[in-house]
């Protein structure tokens, strides 16, 4: 049976018995999303790759203890969130350059202009995210980009669903305010 067609749970059960190919299928299924999340939350590609790699290696080591209380995806996002938080704690906070949040209109053909605008909008989002407190940033990314439910975000961050609602509300308001220049 093609490993790519098997469920997360079946792959994890096989991996727990030592099947490294089954674990590789888990890595390729969820790893890119984990690394995207880590890039947005850390704002640094190399740190994101390191956090993702550490999280996946710790997942392999933690397989015997994973009892399926959460989905495999939620478990993996929990691990990468912890690794990213560890890296963040060791880093000096970076000031957000206000110019990164301002709208720029380069003189380009329409399609190129649209692409440039999208790239600038995304850059502005990255900058605005870096200015948010950690849990607001993580909650917004997990909800709006990764599509996790409130209870899954709560499990990932080790908080309650009510707290997640608060983080999301404040995070959305702050991000919208910071990106007003794009209106």
């Amino acid at each position: 049976m093609d490993l790519g067609q098997r469920s997360d749970d079946a792959l994890v059960r096989a991996a727990r018995l030592g099947d490294t190919d089954a674990f590789a299928a888990v890595v390729h299924r969820h790893g890119p999303g984990m690394e995207r999340y880590a890039r947005f939350i850390l704002g640094d590609d190399q740190d994101a790759a390191d956090a993702t790699q550490e999280a996946l290696v710790s997942a392999w080591r933690g397989l015997p203890g994973f009892r399926g209380d959460s989905t495999v995806r939620t478990w993996l996002f929990t691990l990468v969130s912890r690794r990213a938080a560890d890296l963040q704690r060791r880093r000096r906070p970076l000031p957000v350059d206000d110019e990164q949040l301002e709208r720029r209109l380069p003189a380009l053909p329409d399609t190129a202009l649209a692409t440039a605008l999208e790239a600038d909008l995304l850059a502005a989002l990255r900058a605005a995210l870096q200015a948010l407190p950690w849990r607001q940033r993580a909650s917004w990314l997990l909800r709006e980009v990764e599509g996790l439910r409130y209870d899954e975000i709560a499990a990932t961050l080790g908080v309650t669903s009510g707290q997640v609602r608060g983080y999301l509300s404040r995070g959305r308001a702050e991000l919208a305010e910071r990106m007003q220049a794009w209106r």
Binding site: G31, L121, L122
Partner: protein, 151 residues
């Protein structure tokens, strides 16, 4: 916050959802993960296959090989999938084998446990482990699933 206020943020969120990691960058991350995992895999404890001969030499099979073969034996039954195999070893002798399985919803779980036990016993004998019939095999059904548990 009005709808207009959130529009740039909604557009940025949509762009973020479409964002993908460069395949070459991802391949480096994934290769690094799998290299570390494969290098960390150990053969496990040696399990005695036969009693020592006249000259005192004995044959062993690694725990990793035994677990793989036992897992394959269990996976032949379409109503169950192995979830964990825990081996208790004294010296180089396997004494207790704890088998955790996931069963298909609606199947008689007691009968399923007995089938799993029989499959494991046959596999242990196939491995020619020393005193295979003296090994305690303890089967637990730890979960049930509506789908094929192997998928």
């Amino acid at each position: 916050m009005t709808g207009d206020d959130s529009r740039p943020l909604d557009q940025a969120a949509e762009l973020a959802r479409r964002e993908t990691v460069d395949p070459r960058t991802w391949d480096r991350t994934a290769s690094g993960v799998m290299a570390r995992i494969r290098s960390s895999v150990r053969p496990g404890r040696p399990l005695r296959v036969s009693l020592p001969d006249d000259r005192g030499s004995a044959t062993h099979v690694s725990e990793r090989v035994a677990v793989r073969l036992l897992g394959e034996a269990l996976s032949e039954d379409g109503d169950l999938a192995p979830s964990a195999l825990r081996l208790e070893v004294q010296g180089d002798r396997l004494t207790v084998l704890r088998v955790e399985i996931v069963g298909r919803y609606g199947v008689d779980l007691q009968a399923l446990g007995e089938r799993a036990g029989s499959a494991v016993r046959a596999a242990l004998e196939g491995l020619l482990l020393a005193d295979a019939d003296a090994i305690d095999v303890l089967v637990s059904v730890v979960d049930v699933t509506v789908e094929d548990p192997r998928r």
